[in-house]
Amino acid sequence: MAMSTVLSVRNLTKHYGSTGGVSDISFEVDAGEIVGLLGPNGAGKTTTVECILGLRSPDSGQIRVNGIDARTDPDGVRRITGALLQSTALQDTMSPRDAVRLFGSFYSPAPDVAQNLARFGILPQADVPFQHLSGGQRQRLALALAFLHNPGLVILDEPSAGLDPAARRDLLDCIVAEKKRNRAILLCTHHIDEAARICDRVIILDSGRLVAQGTPNSLISRSPDTVSIQLRTSSDPDAGDLKSIPGITDIKQANDSFILSSNLPNQSIQGIGILMEKTGNCITELHLQGANLEDAFMELTSKASSPDPAHPSNPEPKDPE
């Protein structure tokens, strides 16, 4: 294990009866990086996280956090790991100050309560009962509890679930700020844009298998060279004419515009211009968008779901960057 590697997961397998769980997953998370764990529902993200945190016992494989074996010393791992899990809460009448003081008292040295509340912007609500905190304030408190003891590894499972865009942006800013303190952060999320924005690397799980891992750009580059063209015109063009344009592979109509997929964007743009001129139509709006992480995710997870025996479970080693 390299010196900077904080979390190392090797050949992790955990099954629940005949279905669900994860199979033979391996990845690492280094200090000072945010790694996104992406996957559709039931992909095995939560199982992976729970195995790392010792909430579930793996069937096989090895999990080490800073060299500590999570299977033999789960308390040791928890001592140096912070976590924000889905579906966790505090007692209705517990205030953020109570919570930070309580959780902090299990670590040595005990962290400063006010400082930690201020760090995540909940000092003004320090004495407000949990039941009266907003969703964003609750998540900030959860984040404060996760980072309370300055852990080397922090695992965040859907930290922005249920938050409005502004609260979500604030939360992501907090996470990025913590990364700069040289922490290793494993972020499980459904929001691909969130992962694209803050993750240094992304791991994609599907049906309990690791289907890809790498930087967002490296994963995007693996998706087909398709460009999406959003076209709005003064009058509706004939769909057959659009399909005859070179490079166009797919056409979708959305409200008053067309979404065209093209694998030859230069020729397609040229063809659109010629068609407009020929039919006396006029372009009122034209947007081009290259492949993004969402496309890569959809491509990778749909491939993994298809019955392809040659498809590898751990197809790509960690991108060295």
Binding site: S87, T93, L102, Y107
Partner: protein
Amino acid sequence: MIKGLWRHFLLTLRLNFRSGRAIVYGYIMPILFLVGFGTVFRTGEPRLLYEIGQIFTITILGSACLGMPTALVAERDKGVWRRYQLLPVPINALLSGVLLVRVILAGTAVCLQIVLAHWIYGTPVPSSPFPFALAFTVVVFAFMGVGLILTSLAKDVPSVQALGQCVFLPMILIGGVGVPLYALPDWCRQIASFMPGRYAVELLQSAYQKSTMSSFAVYPALILILMGVAAYIAGLRLLDWEQSRPKGRRIRSALWIALALASWIGAGITTLRLDRISPLQLANHPSFLSIDQASIESITYDGLPDDHGIYTPLAPPLNTDQRMTHRMREFAPRLRQWDPGLKGDTGQRVRNLISVAAIADITQDNSEAIIARQIYDFLQASFDKKDLTHALAWIALSPDNGSVVSAAPELGLKGEAHPDIIRERSAWYARKFLGRILGHIPDPPP
């Protein structure tokens, strides 16, 4: 870690007092139960002394089998315990803190009841707190084990409340907790032998009333410890702090529940085999023969209730008209043939006969004073004076020894009385009779 556990304990205690619902269930309801019992059970003297074990048992049962499981399941469903699992401390250490808080809450509720019972009804407080504290600890331990099982079985708050009521209500109604055991029919007493409630009542009642370690009710304490240990083993094995429960747990759950229930069944069978289904049976009675002259002379006759008063009335020597009322005409021959008055040693026979006067007094029979006089006359006619003197002194000095009769329908007495009250009244009658026999109390001429 110790600092963290201590802080968790203190915070759990403090959070409880921030919750209005916890205050209502933890303190207001026990007070209402106390007042309810005080309203229903008005005849005991001192008031509520003989029901105090039932009142405490309801308080502890409510806290351990309704309050605690509901709070734990609600916290589990919210994910509080899922979050606690991420702390670098064994989860059972945190659970122990919660249990300890519950012990304190139940203990303070019981203390509040003791103070209020003393203040409102004049119920005496235990002369020595240690046996009662020990009994309380044993009862809380057993019931909290049951509470842990309920917590582990329930999938959500409504189901834990339903499960709690399934335990609570049968114990209240036919388990000797709400309705006293002596007032239940035999089949109920037999069923009650399989439930922890009746043992809790017996243990708490005995420890509260007698307040000495030598008279500590060992049998019910052992039964409760057995039930508690089985419940803790099963409960801790079954507890799962995740909101969603994986499949395949049902069979495992059933096996552990069977273990816990086996302790209940074992207790019931043992109790039935030992013929201990009646409450407060005491062992190792000293014989009336152990009463010596000095003991007899130590008995005083001050402060006895007035013969014409509410308690232990005693009619003056009867004239022929009184004896020849229809009821008394039937009573005398029945008394002569009454089995409990014929069987056993002199001391027990005298105690059984005096019980009849006590029953008539407690049930406020129309002829209570005349029946007491009939019993007195019958005792004098049936026993040697020396034996009778010793037997009466034994009853006066050792009211808890021997056994008492709590009902005598064959003598035409309606109703049934609490054995403890019968013992108390019997002791008073014994002093009244003894005082007359020895000439310390003048008996007016007919």
